[in-house]
């Protein structure tokens, strides 16, 4: 073999990189690639679309778009860090949105307030997540299969409940509340920000977060250190289910509907954002900030494409190429810094 291979860093044991969002300069290095990618995207946006890109309105448009997938991606960060995966998020979102907009729920909302709709969306999301978690932790079904089954079942159930009709939200209070823009910021963007901060705090500053890293990093070691691994796994999926419920409410407010087609393809978007962000698919390493950056990169990309009037197919090709370049870039930078 050639001598050049000797300097190939890949041949050596993986370089120690920072784990979570902390660890000082390491984590900045790890996110630096993402930040650079985002900055480049923004520069491209400004060059090609000028003020149309660099306006408050456009920024809010990007954030509004990012909010739904963002909230789910934060939840997904926990599940993936904990060594799992969830393909059913889009279906759970659909089921929650449909359940929360049935005539039954809407009637209830009319009498006791729109909170009934929010509550039922969150409840349905959490319960579906709980079922995923129980199947995986106690039933020992591999996450991929368990959540694939949930994907099929939840969407099927949503269709049955909705009778394949898009359900329109009549409750004005609901639309007014979630459609409001305190200080000019859309309410769902505020929710997204709140979920991100809460997620960051939970992952990096609490024992729950610490256990998540341990469970994902080495479940056997975690178990022998006295952590209730199975129970924790259930919590993780339930948490993700809850974020799906929140996302359902956000999408309900955005579309003023509940529908069994909501959230189609959401699972791949969320997983991609999490993984691009630097969370390891094999578990044990996760970063909420990275996920946030991942979501923003994908959304900004779409925005720049739309502003530039690219054809759909070209957009798809460019999308793929840009993702790969971003990842390669990020790796080179991370390698250099450590």
């Amino acid at each position: 073999m050639s001598a050049s291979l000797q300097n190939d860093p890949s041949l050596t044991v993986p370089a120690p990189t920072g784990r979570g969002d902390r660890g000082g300069n390491l984590s900045i290095a790890r996110n630096l690639g993402l930040i650079i990618a985002l900055v480049i995207l923004c520069v491209v946006g400004i060059i090609t679309a000028g003020d149309r890109f660099a306006s408050t309105d456009n920024l809010l448009t990007i954030l509004r778009l990012a909010a739904v997938v963002g909230v789910v991606s934060i939840g997904m960060t926990f599940v993936i860090t904990g060594g799992g995966i969830d393909l059913s998020v889009g279906a759970i979102l659909a089921l929650a949105s449909v359940w929360a907009t049935t005539t039954g729920t809407q009637d209830m909302a009319d009498s006791i307030g729109w909170i009934a709709m929010v509550f039922s969306a969150l409840l349905v999301g959490t319960c579906a997540g709980l079922i995923n978690g129980i199947l995986i932790a106690y039933g020992k079904v591999v996450p991929f299969i368990a959540t694939l089954a949930m994907l099929a079942s939840a969407r099927g159930l949503a269709e049955v409940i909705a009778d394949r009709k898009t359900q329109i939200i009549r409750n004005q209070g609901f639309t007014d509340f979630f459609g409001s823009e305190p200080l000019g910021i859309p309410f769902i963007v505020i929710i997204f920000a709140a979920v991100t901060v809460a997620g960051w705090f939970l992952l990096n500053r609490t024992t729950f977060g610490r256990r998540t890293f341990a469970v994902g990093g080495n479940p056997e070691a975690a178990r022998l250190a006295g952590i209730k691994v199975q129970r924790h796994t259930v919590y993780l999926y339930a948490l993700l289910g809850l974020t799906c419920g929140i996302a359902a409410v956000m999408l309900m407010s955005r579309t003023t509907t509940g529908s069994s087609t909501h959230g189609t393809g959401l699972e791949l978007q969320a997983i991609a954002a999490v993984v691009i962000g630097g969370t390891l698919l094999s578990g044990g390493r996760g970063t909420v900030i990275g996920t946030l950056l991942g979501v923003l990169i994908f959304t900004t990309l779409t925005n720049v494409f739309t502003l530039n009037n690219l054809s759909t197919s070209t957009q798809a090709v460019a999308n793929g190429v840009i993702i790969v370049i971003a990842v390669l870039l990020q790796q080179r930078i991370a390698d250099r810094k450590t």
Partner: protein, 510 residues
């Protein structure tokens, strides 16, 4: 003097943040057993990984038969004639024994494997190693650690190499298997091969070593020493830079009378062990002796709740533990240093301090919110008390040397201050200096009222440390008594007696 077969000169290797090797020299001649000594983290494994092509070298030259060579990848080293048994078992769990032995140099025609031939020659190798009972078709993942070590050795032999490197091959073997290993080493030496042998057990080096090289902090501090008659004290001073008395610290106070703290009552598990009972008082050390595979690990894992007991019960302080629940055991004050630190003990990609505090998270948290500073400080103190090197609590565990990883697991339970501590092979892979420190730590823990259960394959260690000893053979307790009333050969006799009374089922070798 004949030309050395292998010379490594001025080898330098840097990892991010550590200079693991800082100009190491190593000269090996054909037909010798060359021992490599050094503390945990001295750089022994790193040196041999450079030799085997697993790591690229930063600086320095390697001469083979006087010719300079570079090993760009493991294939190059193997092709030159260097086979390595790595410290961390490097087998593929999903493949069979024979597949693992011949991985990378399969017996195949046009890519189609000749399984029958491979199985036959694998069986031959295993027989040569004294283990005909390991079937070549068996899946490696189902073997015990000792079984895997044997397969690793068979794999190195299968390469017909001129230099065979053995990085702590004896760590998981019992004395009997070490004898077998040494017979093979002897054969190899007579046939003209060179062996580089790494071990922390000085008595082994005395038995088979010819010459030795001592590493300290990434440098060669002594070379060409005669292995048999360099005084132990000199070796220890060379390795550690100080003097260490490696005697077992004796009990200074009288064992206080009192009710048992840990009470194990007739626990059994099908096919593993049956009807095991013992009790340990506060401040008492119970040793469990036996050969590898006797079921000792299973027993203490069951006590700890990591395995569900078929019968029987375990109680701490009079309160019965929930069967099969580790968290209830931990809540009741139990701690376990498991046998396999990598797979059972550590989150390899996490920092040292976070691994140490893993069992004490709640102590450093308020309403579920971690108090990071306090946690890091306490964990760092615990790491210092067992002398984890380098002294950096933020280091990622994976980059620590094997022995230092073991110390991190110990530190975890020191930090948690439990009432009952179960230690499975606590000194496996730990250097002489650190071992003495661990012994005195164990002593101090006992003196402070902790009840300890120690499993070790080193019979001297069990007897030296414990107040009472349990001898286990084939899943039965064959002896239970004070440890000063029995000596190592007495222990072996009990085990042999048990073996003779129960016929050994031969595994089908066909």
């Amino acid at each position: 003097m004949p030309q050395p077969l292998l010379e490594m000169r001025g080898i330098v290797k840097e990892f991010p943040g550590v200079r693991a090797l800082d100009g190491v020299d190593l000269v090996v001649r054909a037909g010798e057993v060359h021992c490599l000594l050094g503390q945990n983290g001295a750089g022994k494994s790193t040196l041999i990984k450079i030799l085997s092509g697993a790591h690229p070298v930063d600086e320095g030259t390697i001469l083979w038969d006087g010719e300079p060579v570079t090993f760009a990848d493991p294939q190059a080293a193997l092709a030159t004639g260097i086979a390595t048994i790595y410290q961390e078992l490097d087998l593929i769990d999903g493949l069979s024994v024979a597949d693992n032995i011949y991985l990378g140099h399969e017996n195949a025609k046009a890519g189609v494997t000749r399984d029958r031939d491979m199985n036959r020659s694998a069986r031959e190798l295993l027989r040569r190693l004294g283990h005909p009972e390991i079937r070549p078709t068996r899946e490696v993942g189902s073997l015990s650690a000792a079984g895997k070590q044997i397969v690793s050795m068979a794999r190195a032999l299968s390469r017909n190499a001129q230099v065979i490197v053995m990085d702590e091959p004896s760590a998981v073997l019992d004395p009997d298997e070490v004898d077998g290993l040494f017979r093979v080493v002897e054969d190899l030496r007579t046939s003209g091969a060179a062996i580089i042998y790494i071990s922390h057990r000085l008595e082994e080096i005395r038995r088979i070593g010819d010459r030795l090289t001592v590493l300290k902090d990434g440098r060669t501090v002594a070379t060409d020493l005669p292995a048999r008659d360099t005084p132990t004290s000199e070796l220890i001073t060379l390795m550690t830079g100080r003097t260490v008395s490696s005697v077992f610290p004796r009990r200074t106070t009288e064992l206080p009378d009192g009710p048992p703290l840990l009470d194990v009552d007739g626990i059994s598990r099908d096919g593993e062990f049956s009807d095991v009972s013992f009790a340990v008082r506060a401040g008492e050390i119970l040793g469990i002796a036996g050969l590898v595979g006797a079921g000792r690990s299973e027993i203490i894992e069951t006590v700890y709740g990591a395995r569900r007991a078929g019968h029987g019960s375990v109680s701490v302080d009079g309160r019965t533990l929930r069967n099969g629940s580790v968290s209830s055991a931990v809540a009741a004050g139990l701690g376990l240093c498991p046998e396999e630190r990598k797979s059972q003990g550590l989150v390899l990609d996490d920092a040292v301090y976070r691994n140490i505090s893993l069992a004490s998270l709640d102590r450093f948290a308020q309403y579920g919110i971690s108090r990071e500073g306090a946690e890091r400080k306490a964990a760092h103190a615990a790491a210092r008390s067992v002398d984890v090197r380098p002294d950096d609590p933020n280091r990622i565990i994976r980059t620590l040397s094997g022995g230092n990883q073991q110390k991190v697991v110990l530190a975890r339970w020191l930090l948690r201050s439990c009432k009952v501590l179960l230690l499975d092979e606590p000194t496996r892979g730990v250097d002489v200096g650190a071992r003495a420190e661990i012994y005195s730590l164990i002593r101090d823990l006992a003196d402070s009222g902790v009840a300890l259960v120690i499993v070790s394959s080193d019979i001297e260690e069990v007897l030296g440390l414990s107040d009472r000893v349990l001898v286990v053979a084939d899943g039965h307790v064959v002896h239970d008594g004070p440890s000063d009333a029995i000596d190592p050969s007495g222990v072996l006799d009990r085990i042999l007696a048990e073996h003779e009374s129960t016929p050994i089922q031969e595994e089908d070798i066909a």
